[in-house]
Symmetry: C2
Subunit: 358 residues, 2 copies
């Protein structure tokens, strides 16, 4: 833990880059004792003065100049072909080249995922990487994955997500024994589709070192019924965005209620003095910023494109905690158990086949 | 519109039945000019004194006694076999027998759907019924369907949902030309799965009388980007429950913020005088109570199992508005156009096949 940790930053990714990247890095450093080094990939002429404004940052930063950056609207397939040498590409490649342990970008999600897959490759035993999101709950956070990388999933992939999500949650949210649930619908008639049911059975049969609690429903995410919630990227993405939209709607109503009359405005002034700030902190998406790409040979954290400096600092903190944890090893152990379970199942199917033939 | 409308009520369905059913009916009647009659199916000995407490209700009510009711935890398949003669069964059968125009129940959703399908059958041109939910947005409501009846859907079914949802929205939310969106994920790489893409193409090709706006994402539901949002029952159910959970979480935070200090409590007292009540009304699920079963030969409204009298009254209001609207006719017209489009597609495929063979 005492060795220096190197974070590789796409300094040009995101709606407000490079300003928020540099300011976010400075905020991340403040009061931190852990020895770190930061590699900024981007336009040196723009980055140099921004970094120089933070003396603490100057001491631990290095700039790797590049003229090119990935467009926020680029298609992932194009991004891989055309982004060679861009700030995003270079930030991820620093991991492969052994120059950094983690990469952070607020750029185009699809492009970052495509570049990361090509550059870092999947871990052995993982079919496809997943994006994990941290969701605020009454006590701490719930980890939900996949929230957008995989539209269609097999049962084995969902089990891989459970393995990666559990290890991730332990690493980032300091919970030794996270509970895991599988997202499903609750009506008796239709206890989920075949894929969810098969994933549930495979997860139970695999003998993983995991506190798996079975099915959970949409409302369980915000309740925090389990620490980790597993789902495919289509459902997870829609659930995440629906929750964001709902939180924004309710926040808008609160704001409206607090400005609807003279009395309400007086109450709002009183609240400003204390409680409202707490509330605002809880609802601030910047405090949970950072979708983490799990399943790659290396840690890549995707910050929201529209994030501010505080949000980017959170993404850096998550990246640091992952790099300092044992989560890659834990994933490997459970993936080996999953593979063994699948082989047992295959063997059983083959034996049944022979019996039928005989 | 001047003829009497008859509503058939499952008086024993729901966690707090029959009390909230009777009180809800009384609340529904208050100040209503439309001539209605109410059929209460349930335990006469319990219902009689409850109804007698509301003189207005006595005048328009009739009790149909039955001893049996459907258990809230009964499996739908069992419910159909064993529920003959129950309050729910009788409430739905009153529609088929021509004794009532609509049925309302706060009982077991799966059982109500199964009984409704067996008893009323699907409309011609509809593969499976859907459950539509009304979702609060800044201005009015968004209609989301399906929220739980169909775990897996074909493209044609999603188009049917669009047709039914649009007609429903017009009838209940008084919007002459509702806009319609298809729920999807937004990342370039993975613009939805094949089913969503095919549904989008079929909807555009069918030449429906509908203002279809293409794909929307999860956050668009609460924003109210389109008036109607179409999705399969798995995704819709998870989105609905996720939104409910998020709204409850944020409401909890507001409550916490308003009691966290003496100043905050003072502010809360001031707010009580006005704005907080407005906010509470907006967030009260009872104001949007009632999942409507669309696609059947008749109108069945499912009230939340845990609803109160105000929520049950809302379900009755929705049932009334549907019965008084032209929505069944509108659905039929668009379904005919969809069928024609599918036949054109089949013919085109057959022609292509011949060309290949030739």
């Amino acid at each position: 833990m005492n060795s220096e940790l190197v974070l590789s930053l796409d300094a040009m990714g995101g709606d407000h880059a490079p300003g928020i990247v540099v300011d976010g890095a400075a905020a991340f450093l403040k009061g931190r004792r852990r020895k770190v080094r930061l590699l900024f990939h981007g336009d040196e002429a723009r980055l140099r003065p921004l970094i120089n404004a933070h003396p603490d940052l100057v001491a631990v930063s290095e700039i790797f100049h590049t003229d090119s950056e990935v467009d926020m609207s680029a298609k992932p397939s194009d991004a891989v072909r055309r982004s060679r040498g861009s700030s995003m590409w270079n930030a991820v490649h620093a991991i492969r080249d052994g120059k950094a342990q983690v990469a952070v970008s607020a750029g185009n999600t699809g492009a970052l995922m495509a570049i990361s897959k090509v550059c870092l490759r999947m871990k052995a035993g993982v079919h496809r990487p997943a994006i994990a999101a941290s969701w605020p709950v009454p006590k701490g956070f719930c980890t939900v994955l996949d929230v957008g990388a995989n539209v269609q999933c097999t049962p084995a992939q969902l089990v891989e997500f459970a393995i990666m999500g559990e290890a991730f949650h332990r690493a980032v949210h300091r919970n030794k024994r996270p509970t895991v649930g599988m997202l499903n619908v609750g009506q008796e008639e239709l206890k989920g589709n075949d894929i969810v049911r098969d994933a549930d059975a495979l997860l139970r049969a695999a003998g993983l070192d995991m506190d798996y609690r079975g099915y959970v429903e949409g409302n369980d995410i915000s309740v925090g019924t389990t620490d980790v919630v597993v789902t495919d990227g289509f459902t997870g993405n829609i659930a995440l965005k629906t929750a964001e939209g709902t939180a924004r709607l309710v926040a808008g109503w609160v704001r409206e209620a607090l400005t609807s009359s003279v009395i309400a405005r007086l109450a709002a002034v009183l609240l400003q003095l204390g409680a409202l700030d707490q509330l605002r902190a809880k609802m601030d998406p910047n405090n949970v910023n950072g979708g983490v790409f799990l399943g790659l040979n290396g840690v890549v954290v995707k910050s929201h494109g529209g994030t501010n400096a505080a949000g980017f600092a959170t993404a850096l903190r998550i990246a640091l905690e992952l790099a300092d944890s044992a989560f890659l090893n834990e994933i490997e152990q459970n993936l080996a158990l999953l593979e063994a379970a699948q082989e047992r199942e295959l063997a059983a199917t083959a034996t049944q086949g022979q019996e039928v033939t005989a």
